[in-house]
Symmetry: C2
Subunit: 335 residues, 2 copies
C-alpha cells in the first residue's frame, strides 16, 4: 500500500546529484554556473540532463535562508483596494523588478494595528516592502520590519516615515486640489465621499483632511458623506441630497463618482447645475460619463524608476531620489 496517490516527495538537488553520479556541490556549481569553480563539460552535461529529467526546481526559501537575503519584494495591499490605475502600475513594476531578479508578491493580511500587520509581513522576510499606503505605516512597524532583516522599506506617504525611504505621495493634496477647484467654481458647501469599503479608509481620510484644509482657508465648508459601492447606498444618499444642501462634491474616486452621478440624475438633481462633481484617477470610462467627469489625475513615478530605486535601496543601502506623485486636475463638464 502506498501513501497518498500523489505523495511524490519533492525533488531536491541531492536527487539530481544521485542521478548524475556526482556530489551535491557539483550540482550547485553547475546549476548556478559558479565562475569560481571549473567543472568539466561532460559532467556539466550529465548534471543538466539529470536536473531536466527529474524536473528539478530550486527551493527559494532554502536558497535565501542560506544566502541570508531573499529576493522577495512585498506589496502589502489587498487586491481590490488597488484601483485599475494602480493595478496596471503594479503589473509594470513586477516586470521591472524581474529584470533585477526580484520576485514581487502581493499579500495583505487583515490585522487590527500596523505593528501586527508588519509582523505578518516580516515573517516572509522580504528583501523590501513597498507600502502604497505609507501613511498607515508607523515608525514602530518599520522597526519591526527592519529587525526582521528587511533591507528596504519604500513608503508612498505624505509625511516622512522614520526608518523608511519615503516617496512623496500626499493623498491630502488630491482632496485639496479637488476642493480648490470646486471653490473656484463657486461652490460653498462641499461634500466629500467617504467610501465604506474596507481598506479604502487609509486613502479616504487624508483626502478628506486635505479638503478640510482648503475649506478652512476659504469661506466654504466641507461635509463628509458615507457611501458604499452599491446602487442602494447611492440611491439612499441621492434621496437626501437636497436636505444636505451640498453644491459640490469630491467623490473619492471616478467609480464612486460615476455611481453617484447616476443616482443624482435619477433623483432629478442636475450636474453641474445643482451640484458639481469631481472624481479621481481619470479612468478611461470617466470621460464617457454623462456629463463627462472632472477628475484628479495622478502622475505616478515610473515603475522602472521605482524598481531601480528599490534595487539601490536593497543592494547598496543608498537613499535614491524618487520623484513623488504629482496630482493635477482634468477639467470636464461635471463641474
Amino acid at each position: 500500500m502506498g501513501e497518498k496517490p500523489t505523495a511524490a516527495a519533492a525533488v531536491t538537488s541531492a536527487d539530481v546529484a544521485r542521478l548524475a553520479g556526482v556530489s551535491r556541490a557539483t550540482v550547485s556549481f553547475v546549476l548556478n554556473n559558479t565562475q569560481e569553480h571549473r567543472v568539466s563539460e561532460t559532467t556539466r552535461a550529465r548534471v543538466l540532463a539529470a536536473a531536466e529529467q527529474l524536473g528539478y526546481v530550486p527551493h527559494a526559501a532554502a536558497r535565501s535562508l542560506r544566502a541570508g537575503r531573499s529576493n522577495l519584494v512585498l506589496i502589502p495591499a489587498s487586491v481590490s483596494a488597488a484601483g485599475s490605475l494602480v493595478s496596471a502600475w503594479v503589473d509594470d513594476l513586477e516586470s521591472e523588478l524581474e529584470r533585477h531578479g526580484y520576485v514581487l508578491v502581493l499579500h495583505a493580511g487583515r490585522f487590527p494595528d500596523p505593528v501586527s500587520s508588519a509582523r505578518a509581513w516580516a515573517e516572509l522576510r522580504p528583501a523590501a516592502v513597498v507600502a502604497l499606503d505609507g501613511d498607515s505605516l508607523s515608525g514602530q512597524a518599520v522597526e519591526v520590519l527592519s529587525r526582521a532583516g528587511v533591507r528596504g522599506v519604500l513608503a508612498f506617504a505624505s509625511r516622512e516615515v522614520p526608518g523608511a525611504h519615503t516617496v512623496d505621495f500626499d493623498q491630502s493634496r488630491i482632496g485639496a486640489l479637488a476642493v480648490e477647484h470646486l471653490v473656484a467654481r463657486g461652490c460653498r458647501k462641499v461634500g466629500v465621499v467617504m467610501p465604506q469599503e474596507r481598506g479604502l479608509g487609509t486613502f479616504a481620510r487624508p483626502r478628506l483632511a486635505g479638503a478640510e484644509g482648503v475649506a478652512a482657508r476659504s469661506t466654504a465648508t466641507v461635509t463628509p458623506v458615507d457611501l458604499s459601492y452599491t446602487h442602494e447606498s447611492a440611491a439612499e444618499l441621492a434621496a437626501r441630497w437636497r436636505e444636505l444642501g451640498l453644491d459640490g462634491v469630491f467623490a473619492y474616486n471616478d467609480e464612486y463618482a460615476a455611481l453617484l452621478l447616476h443616482a443624482l440624475r435619477n433623483e432629478g438633481v442636475s450636474v453641474p447645475g445643482d451640484v458639481a462633481v469631481v472624481g479621481c484617477d481619470d479612468l478611461v470610462l470617466s470621460a464617457l460619463q454623462q456629463p463627462p467627469l472632472t477628475s484628479v489625475r495622478l502622475d505616478l513615478p515610473t515603475p522602472a524608476q521605482v524598481a531601480d530605486a528599490l534595487h539601490e535601496l536593497v543592494d547598496r543601502g543608498a537613499r535614491p531620489e524618487v520623484r513623488g506623485m504629482e496630482p493635477f486636475l482634468v477639467h470636464r463638464q461635471s463641474s
Copy 2:
C-alpha cells in the same frame, strides 16, 4: 566605521534565547506553546519578555523548511488581469484562508510557456496553487508543481487538467450564453471583442470559441474584433463599424462594453437599434450605462467553500467537491 547605517542583523530565536538565558529549544517551546513539553511559568515569562523586547518574529521560510510544508497559497495572476469582480472574491478568499492558517500570495511572472511559469511558481514551494485561468495550465506544468512538493493544485478550468483538482469554470459558456442571447434577439452577424491587453487572451479565446460554437449550430456568424482599452482604439473600431456590418456584439467585459457603447454612440450607431451589445461581470456601473448594459453574470463558488476545499486538498489529499461557476444572463436595454 560601521557597516550600512541600518545593517541591524535580523533577530533570530537564538538571540531571544541568549537574552532570556535559556536554550533555543525552550524558546521554541514557549513561542509555539508546544503541548508535549511543560515549561515553568517564570521562564515562559522571561522568554516572552525577551521576544517582545527584541521584536522577534519567526522566519517563515526556515519554519516551513523544517516542517517540510509551507502555508503559502499562491494565486498566479497579475493584479490587473483580475477584474473588480474577481478582485473582491480573491480578497475574501484571503480572509477565509487566514482562518485555516494559510497565507495567500499573488504573483505572476511573465514567462513564455506554462512550464517555465510553473517553474517560477514552484520555487516558492507553496502548499497549493489556485489557477484562475486553469485552461492555460498544462498537465506538464502541474507535473512540475507536483515534483516541487506542491500538495494541491486547484484549477478553474473548462476541461480536466491532469493531476490538478479541477473546478468547472468554462469560459466558453460565457461566450456561448451571450451569443445564444444575441441570436435569440435576432442577430445574424455577431462580433466578439478580443481585448488586446496582455493577460486577457487566456480568457478571451475560450469565450470566442464558445461564441463560435453557438454560431455553428445556428445560421449566425461570429467575427472577432480587436479592441484595446483606450478611447482611440474604440473610436477607430466604431468608425469602421458600418462596413463590418455587425448587428450584435459580445464585448468580453462590461468595461470594454461600456467603452464600445460610448464610441458607437459618438459614431451615431444606435444601441440596441443598429447593434445589440452584451458585456460580462455585471459590474455596479453596468446598469448605469446608456442604455443599461445586458451582461453575463458569473456566480462564483463562495470563498469559504473554496478555502475549505483547499485545506482538504492540502491536508488530507482528498478531492473535495466544489460547485463550479454558473454563468447566467442579466437582460437590460442594450440588447
